[in-house]
Subunit: 188 residues, 2 copies
Amino acid sequence: MNKAERQTKSDRTRAAIIAAAQAVFAAHGYERATVRDIAVRAAIDPAMIIRYFGSKDELFTRLAVFDLKLPDLSAVDSNQIGEALVRHFLSQWEDGANSGLTILLRSAASNEYAAEKLRAVFVEQVMPGIASVGGRAGAAERAGLVSSQLLGLALCRYVLKLPPLVTMHRESIIKQVGKTIQRYVTGR
Amino acid sequence: MNKAERQTKSDRTRAAIIAAAQAVFAAHGYERATVRDIAVRAAIDPAMIIRYFGSKDELFTRLAVFDLKLPDLSAVDSNQIGEALVRHFLSQWEDGANSGLTILLRSAASNEYAAEKLRAVFVEQVMPGIASVGGRAGAAERAGLVSSQLLGLALCRYVLKLPPLVTMHRESIIKQVGKTIQRYVTGR
DNA sequence: GTCTATAATTCGATAGAC
DNA sequence: GTCTATCGAATTATAGAC
């Protein structure tokens, strides 16, 4: 067995741990997720997780990241910014490869590290995007209002699973919530 | 010492446990709150908590209740319903005696019992109130949208403590979010 | 690289003295 | 009614055999 093959096997184990940890953290949040749960799901030994990632905390830190991937809003038709933002947000949320937001939101209510990470996402990603459209004046407040609606939507639809929001059609949500975001961003 | 005095002392201990438990559950959520933490804050022995309430679960169940105390919306000026709802919601949230909502929201993301309780609040308190105003048609969806904005607001302002929403003046929030709720409830 | 065995904590809960 | 002492279970993390 040469070095490349050993690396391949090691990488497979590492990938299995990451995939399992994403699923378990996203399903139960930081506190409820256990190293053993993750190990069972990855079909490996719990000790391997510590060996590969050092600790549960380090593993969580590695997965509790989120890139909103906001498009350049100044290039969007200014009457469509609300709907475009909601559509983009829902897509990012439902993108399985971007599970960081689910993990963060599930954990943030009872985990200060996750809460701080969410605040950082707001300051570094949401605020600048909003400011680039409606100007600097009151950008922080407008971004805050936008975040309250979008995070609330995600909380109700994906975490709490509030019946009407779970079953509500994607396009209906985009239309209704889009109007709200449009007003928060542009004032109209 | 007569019976009334013994009861008084017992009641004081019980009240101290409840007050401490509300504070700790509201601050850290169900998973992170420990019986020992509550005992320290109440300045009593941990064993007393079990003796008085049976288990941590039973104590939590007793505190994880929330009465939104929605006013009769059909009596409110139909153009003022949005602002009235936001104002009422913020007041209820900031009412120290009504800590159930904080406790529920802090716990619901990683605790299925708390999530179920929040869904029940929605079905039993929010839905009927919304339906009493805009009529039955689409009442569930409209109530869902209202909940997403109000819970998102509470999440950002009181739990995540997102800077702009924490410092934002109460009346500004009522005005801005009020317009959103108004449209969700009445369609205009 | 992997797993067995176990250390070291922490937690909820109980038993029993006072 | 209250507290001391402790149990038993669950958890993260480590040591070391294979």
